[in-house]
Amino acid sequence: MSIWSNLGLVYALLGAAVAVFLAGAGSAIGVGIAGQAAAGVVTEDPSKFAKVLIMQLLPGTQGIYGLLVGFITLSNIGLLGGSPKALDPQTGLLVLAACLPIGIVGLISGKYQGMTSAAAIGIVAKKPDQFGKAMLFPAMVETYAILALLISILAVNAVPLP
């Protein structure tokens, strides 16, 4: 079985990979940025640990969305069941395209949500009672990751598979 005879499957798997690794990388960057700010706050005031930890986790969702799309893709193309479907290259490319939104938006929004989270951690450090409002700013960024996730899920499910 040469790679050329099964190019469709390769494309589809590439799609799943793109969704997981781009979105995951975005989350990793974001959680990293927020984590640095969080660690700074905890050195000053360890009692704020729980609050800043929640803030740090907020940019972590993009990675999960990527995992989600990757998993749905793997399951749709039959790789998880051990019996991969025979996809033509065109279908494979369709699946790849369907995975792009959450991958790319996940990467970018993850980074920026991390920066917003870091700023929100600053709010928690100075005014812990404003936690509810502080949490809202990173959540705003996440909206676009959710929209991308939605389109990716709908598209992956909508691609006709043999």
């Binding site: 995992l67 989600l68 936690f131 996730l149 939605l150 899920i153 709908l154």
Partner: protein, 670 residues
């Protein structure tokens, strides 16, 4: 479901009753102090000194408690922060108040001990540094300040590591005015420096010293009269002594562990007294009388009047809030709705005259939260955990109690949604039955499985969003009607409703909707015409009326057109509700990823162990991250989409003058 009505209460009493009346108000805790502007003939008492002295004593007790926590920590369980303040008898509190001198003395002893420990530790550090500086010289077996014998001179010091003794010997041999001899002993060498002891004849001392200085020879900074080894032993003995002092002081601190309770009581005692004196300092007083004024919720006015007016000679005056006054806000809701008050508070309490959205929000909140998490097993875990904690720690703080109750209700809602969507730890039942028993068993969803039909759930999510947003717009209308602004109500609310409902009715039979919903819905022609009519009336009305405050007709139309453009805002608001679908899918799919991973170990004992491990770790993580997600995004839907339609907030919370304790609650008599 309301903001409690406040009234202004003013009490004018005799000075002899001042203490009793103040204490009564403090123990009732229903009045927020707000003194009226000064009148002539009234003066304010200067209580700053007294207050500061009480605060200092409260701080001393707090510090002593911190010392106790450091050296004699209490064993605390993870959940102990939920226990809340201990309840003590009034007599016990009074006892501590009587013994306050003695207890504060103990507090000062504790603080003193902790200072002793800190000083001893600093000294140890200093001595350790000295020992370190001494280490290179340990091989020297004469005192470091020895100048020499009758005929010889001893020079000790360090040179840089590059300077070898041979170089010095060479230089000595070439010294001016005449070559000199000396014996150089290397005491210690490392990569940075050499420690040297140089012995020469007393007559040559000056020349030798000059040569040495030219080589960068430096005498040691600390000069000691003992041999280095002996000095080190002395210093070590001193450290030993200091360590013993520290452990003695620590032991002494531990001896006071039993005073923890007293210290807490006395700290609270001084804290309440400081509060009282703070209020006292703001009261206008004449020679014989004093005036207290403040806000009291209407429902507590009777109780206050009974406790004060009937017991003391005083004037008890009740007024309604004036137009220009901004009273504090206190909410009152039923047990279910009050649980989300914390969420509302984190956005901002309603300002004066504003509608309290708590009740309406509470239903949507629980509904959306459940939909985002939507797993029956997760919901059951959350609901049961919160229920158990609530029952086990009845004395936790009120805000914590409310939050936990909110999560309990959200857990129940999650359970219901999970049953509707057929999610129990994702698809654990199917996976387990297939892996270990070889026969797939599926618990059918009561409604439908979201992953099989995401478009359908998307439509429902957006529809719930429309209901939520319309509820917000309706509240805005209600508020405008209540304030008698009928024209505003018609233009801002009725026209928008007509416009939006018309557009929605036009959208439903269209082909776009059919392709999303996968069913064609056909309306009777009357309804189609009605839809068009509504949309057109709404649009034209908005175009003409939105800029009604502007006289200039062109500007007015332009503003109207801009308001119609807000339809894009509505569109993005509605689309925002797609997160209900996305987050719901996320929970289910990750749960099935966990289950699939667990089932990869195959059958048999190892398979079961592997499955259980993956199951526990995976589902714990999934629950935690999705719980956070559901909480954050439910809040967002309320704050941004829902409140954006009508709510301003910005009210000041009601902060009554009360016994504001930190460690204990005092049981009230009767």
């Amino acid at each position: 479901m309301a903001v409690l009505q406040m009234q202004r209460i003013s009490i004018c009493g005799l000075k002899k009753d001042r203490k009793a009346i103040l204490e009564k108000i403090q123990s009732l805790g229903v009045m927020e102090m707000n003194q009226i502007a000064d009148d002539e003939g009234f003066e304010k008492m200067d209580t700053v000194n007294a207050r500061q002295s009480f605060e200092r004593q409260a701080q001393a007790a707090d510090q002593a408690l911190m010392v106790l926590d450091t050296y004699a920590p209490l064993k605390k369980s993870l959940l102990s922060s939920l226990e809340g303040k201990a309840l003590v008898e009034k007599s016990e509190f009074a006892q501590a108040a009587d013994d306050k001198q003695e207890i504060i003395r103990k507090a000062n002893v504790l603080i003193g001990k902790s200072k002793e420990i800190a000083e001893a530790k600093a000294n140890i550090l200093k001595i350790e540094n000295q020992i370190e500086a001494l280490t290179p010289w340990l091989a020297l077996d004469v005192p470091m300040n020895l100048a020499g014998t009758k005929k010889t001179a001893l020079l000790i010091g360090t040179v840089a590591a590059e300077v070898a003794p041979e170089t010095i010997y060479n230089r000595l041999a070439q010294a001016e005015p005449e070559p000199v001899g000396a014996d150089i002993q290397v005491i210690y060498s490392d990569k940075d420096m050499l420690c040297l002891a140089v012995i020469c004849l007393k007559t040559d001392e000056e020349t030798v010293e000059e040569v040495l200085r030219a080589c960068g020879f430096a005498k040691p900074a600390q000069v000691i009269t003992n041999t280095p080894a002996r000095q080190k032993a002395l210093l070590e003995a001193e450290i030993e002594k200091l360590n013993k002092e520290i452990s003695e002081a620590e032991e002494a601190v531990r001896g006071y562990a039993a005073s923890r309770k007293e210290l807490e009581l006395v700290s609270d005692y001084f804290r309440t007294r400081a509060e009282k004196y703070e209020v006292l300092g703001t009261l206008p007083q004449s020679q014989r009388t004093f005036v207290i004024s403040g806000y009291v919720p209407r429902r507590y006015v009777r109780a206050l009047s009974k406790a004060i007016e009937e017991k003391y000679d005083c004037v008890f005056d009740i007024e309604d809030i004036k137009e220009d006054e901004e009273p504090p806000t206190l909410l009152s809701n039923n047990s279910f709705s009050s649980s989300v008050e914390g969420v509302l508070e984190s956005y901002g309490l309603p300002h004066k005259g504003e509608f309290d959205p708590t009740t309406i929000m509470s239903f949507f909140y629980v509904f959306f939260f459940g939909m985002m998490l939507s797993d029956a097993a997760y919901g059951a875990i959350i609901a049961i955990a919160c229920f158990v904690v609530l029952k086990k720690f009845p004395r936790m703080s009120e805000s914590m109690h409310k939050s936990l109750k909110m999560f309990m209700f959200c857990g129940v809602s999650t359970m219901v949604w999970g049953i509707l969507f057929g999610g129990y730890f994702g698809d654990v039942i199917t996976v387990v039955s297939e892996t270990f028993f070889g026969k797939a068993v599926t618990v059918p969803a009561l409604w439908f499985v979201p992953l099989d039909n995401p478009m359908q759930l998307l439509i429902y999510s957006l529809a719930f969003g429309v209901v939520h947003l319309f509820a917000g717009l309706a509240i805005k209308g209600y508020m405008e009607l209540k304030e008698g602004r009928v024209l505003d109500f018609f233009c801002d609310v009725v026209l928008w409703f007509a416009f939006l409902i018309g557009l929605i009715l036009m959208l439903i039979p269209s082909s776009i909707f059919a392709s999303i919903a996968q069913t064609q819905i056909v309306f009777p022609p009357v309804l189609n015409t009605l839809a068009k009519a509504l949309a057109i009336i709404g649009a034209v009305g908005l175009l003409l009326m939105s800029g009604r405050e502007n006289k200039n007709p062109v500007l007015r139309i332009a503003l109207g057109a801009y308001d119609i453009y807000n339809i894009t805002g509505w569109l993005s608001d509605v689309l925002s509700y797609s997160r209900l679908l996305a987050l719901g899918l996320a929970t289910g799919v990750i749960a099935s990823v966990v289950n699939t991973m667990g089932s990869m170990f195959g059958k048999g004992i190892m398979g079961v162990i592997g499955f259980v491990l993956v199951f526990l770790v995976g589902h714990t993580l999934n629950l935690a991250i999705n719980l956070l997600g559901a909480y954050v995004h439910t809040n967002r839907l309320q704050f941004v989409e829902f409140f954006g339609k009508f709510y301003e907030g910005g009210g000041k919370p009601f902060e009554p003058f009360k016994t504001d304790t930190k460690y204990v609650d005092i049981k009230e008599e009767n």
